[in-house]
């Protein structure tokens, strides 16, 4: 089905999760997986105390790869073994942040890696029922996972009394149906309960306390769960040496847009800068083009302008903190560095735009996405996301009035922080950052004068008085 030629890893990559992706002769079946050392880490994990596994994950410093970057070990630490309620694990495979395309390849080409990561995690957290929530648009991926689960059960890695440990575990695949909001963990849980995916308010609905069926639940991203397997393989302390402090491990960068070779690249966190990612990994921009803007961590991340400068604090050789000024291309691709410049590493999806791109058009495209995907539960987001789309659409069509940039910002400011879930921020950050950083483009396009205000003598009373009365009838 895939038409894309297989590509060997770039020399600057360090492939752990993607070790088997695009590998010649590697197939998604269990024999191929076991032949390449698969399920060895599970065999190791079952000899460990469950708490020891959790401690290894804590020691690894692994941060969630779905978008928020929350430390996985801390999340797991909220779970108490042996409580009165069962604990559930859900793998979030609802990959739908625009710009992100990593889970797709794990699921399609190396499904057993995910399943092994899940089994280890379930063993550590005393989970006996787990679900993979996969987005509806991956019908083939769902079939591959179901087949992989069946294979793992047949070989005894999964099911009742797996590997003679006395431990029972069932994993089922649950397909979503095209709603972006299901990537939000509480929305995902609602969806898995058979309801509309309206996110729940925190507190009290922290999934680790009140999750699926009001029981403690851990929701982890596909990539995060795959990392668990490698942490057990090499030990948490060893894993923590990869990458940078507080930004440990590898990360799959998904780079798309105006670059010569878009694609996925697994690198150590902080090992490459944004400039190196674009120029080395992706072969630079198309001929004759100049860099204009970058969305560094999925469409919700705040946009970076090519000529921006940032003042950041870095550690000097003597250990003291010093101020340093850097440009966009010098930003290290890790969680903390991108947060320090006011954006985020998010889901790892980098969208590159060159100087041929119209920023109003770009923002309008994203606004259309968010207007379509708002679940409609909270008023600011339900209404505001549509208003933002209508305004950018109007500017594009030539009907923009000269205070539209301010109105856009105002609408966005009134969504962020005022909604139940982080979608409010996700939909307002693009608008806030695009209007702030490319204001000239917006004002150049939105030039119509404001329509004259209603004359002051025109009060609601006169309006009512002048409205022709309809003849009364006895029909409703």
């Amino acid at each position: 089905m895939s038409q894309r030629p297989r590509r060997s890893p770039h020399p600057r990559e360090r492939r752990m999760i993607f070790a088997n992706i695009d590998r010649e002769g590697y197939t998604p079946d269990i024999d191929s997986y076991v032949r390449h050392g698969g399920y060895e880490q599970l065999r190791k994990a079952i000899t460990m105390e469950p708490d020891a596994i959790v401690n290894e994950v804590k020691a690894s410093g692994l941060r969630g790869r779905g978008g928020a970057g929350f430390p996985c070990g801390v999340k797991w630490g909220f779970i108490r073994r042996g409580g009165p309620k069962p604990t559930y694990l859900i793998c979030n495979a609802d990959e739908s942040e625009p710009g992100t395309f990593k889970d797709r390849y794990i699921i399609h080409q190396d499904p057993h890696q995910l399943i092994e990561g899940m089994i280890i995690s379930c063993f550590a957290l005393d989970v006996h029922l787990a679900y993979i929530y996969i987005r509806g648009e991956f019908p083939e991926g769902a079939k591959i996972l179901e087949k992989a689960i069946a294979e793992a059960k047949e070989k005894g890695y999964l099911g009742k009394n797996l590997l003679d440990t006395g431990f029972d575990l069932e994993i089922y695949v649950h397909r979503g149906a095209g709603a972006y909001i299901c990537g939000e963990e509480t929305g995902l849980i609602e969806s898995l309960e058979g309801k509309r995916a309206y996110p729940r308010i925190k507190p009290p609905y922290f999934p680790a306390v009140l999750g699926l069926y009001q029981c403690p639940t851990i929701v982890n991203n596909v990539e995060t769960l795959c990392h668990v397997k490698h942490i057990i393989g090499m030990g948490g302390a060893e894993y923590a040496k990869i990458g940078r402090p507080n930004n440990t491990g590898t990360r799959i960068l998904c780079i798309s847009g105006d670059v010569v070779r878009p694609g996925y690249f697994e690198v150590e966190l902080g090992a490459v800068t944004l400039g190196e990612a674009i120029n080395e990994l992706c072969g630079g921009l198309k001929p004759g083009r100049k860099l204009k803007a970058i969305i560094p961590g999925g469409s919700s991340a705040k946009v970076l302008r090519a000529d921006e400068r940032f003042k950041i604090k870095t550690k000097a050789e003597d250990g003291s903190m010093v101020d340093k000024e850097i440009g966009v291309e010098d930003i290290l691709m890790d969680f903390d560095s991108l947060a320090a410049v006011g954006s985020m590493a998010g889901s790892g999806g980098v969208i590159v735009m060159d100087d041929s791109r119209d920023m109003v058009w770009t923002l309008n495209n994203l606004n259309e996405f968010y207007a379509h995907e708002s679940c409609g539960q909270c008023t600011p987001c339900r209404e505001g996301s549509l208003w933002m789309r209508k305004i950018t659409d109007r500017i594009l069509a030539g009907g923009g009035v000269d205070n539209d940039p301010d109105v856009l910002k105002n609408v966005a400011d009134n969504i962020a922080g005022k909604t139940i879930c982080a979608f409010g921020e996700a939909c307002s950050w693009p608008t806030q950052s695009f209007v702030l950083k490319f204001r000239d483009e917006f004002t150049a396009k939105a030039r119509k004068p404001l329509p004259p205000p209603i004359p002051p003598e025109y009060t609601p009373d006169t309006l009512i008085a002048e409205t022709p009365r309809l003849p009364a009838t006895n029909q409703a």
Partner: protein, 164 residues
């Protein structure tokens, strides 16, 4: 409503995946019905609701919330073209236009509230969908359950020829 035995077997299998709450099987059942009948009919909603011991509104509200479910027939080959940023930058709007021309679909036939437009002969239908997670090989589309990446205006003609 006549439910063929093979569909019923799949329904029961799906429900068995949710030992805690049958309601969780609502989405899987809707997928099964849409695969089998091509869309979610009113009778299907009533049948699923009864099967899961729910009110029909609990099923209808899912059909109207989740974009993948439809309440009318799509074409024999339903084409989903990704609309979101990376694909749009790589020409997905032009791609959609090209597909519409090649298949005789009027993309605005259904009006503002109907995302699915069907060709007059019922063979093809098209839907502009949001990001389907393959931005690195944009533009991408799906024809029924088959996924295609790096689709150019030139290659779409050959592709469509495979779906007659």
């Amino acid at each position: 409503m006549q439910i063929p035995p093979e569909l019923l077997a799949k329904v029961d299998e799906a429900i068995s995946h949710y030992p805690v709450s049958k309601r969780s099987a609502a989405l899987p059942l809707l997928h099964l019905f849409q695969e089998h009948f091509g869309y979610i009919a009113q009778e299907s909603i009533l049948w699923i609701a009864e099967k899961l011991e729910l009110q029909p509104i609990h099923i209808l509200e899912l059909v109207t919330f989740y974009p993948m479910f439809r309440q009318k027939m799509a074409g024999k080959y339903h084409i989903r073209v990704c609309r979101t940023l990376s694909c749009a930058m790589a020409g997905s709007y032009e791609l959609r236009e090209k597909i519409c021309k090649a298949t005789g679909i009027d993309p605005h036939a259904g009006g503002h509230h109907d995302p699915i437009a069907v060709s007059p002969d019922g063979r093809y239908s098209i839907e502009f969908v949001e990001c389907i997670a393959s931005c690195g090989s944009a533009p991408v589309c799906m024809i029924n359950d088959d996924f295609y990446e790096g689709v150019t205006e030139a290659s779409i003609t050959d592709l469509l020829a495979r779906y007659q």
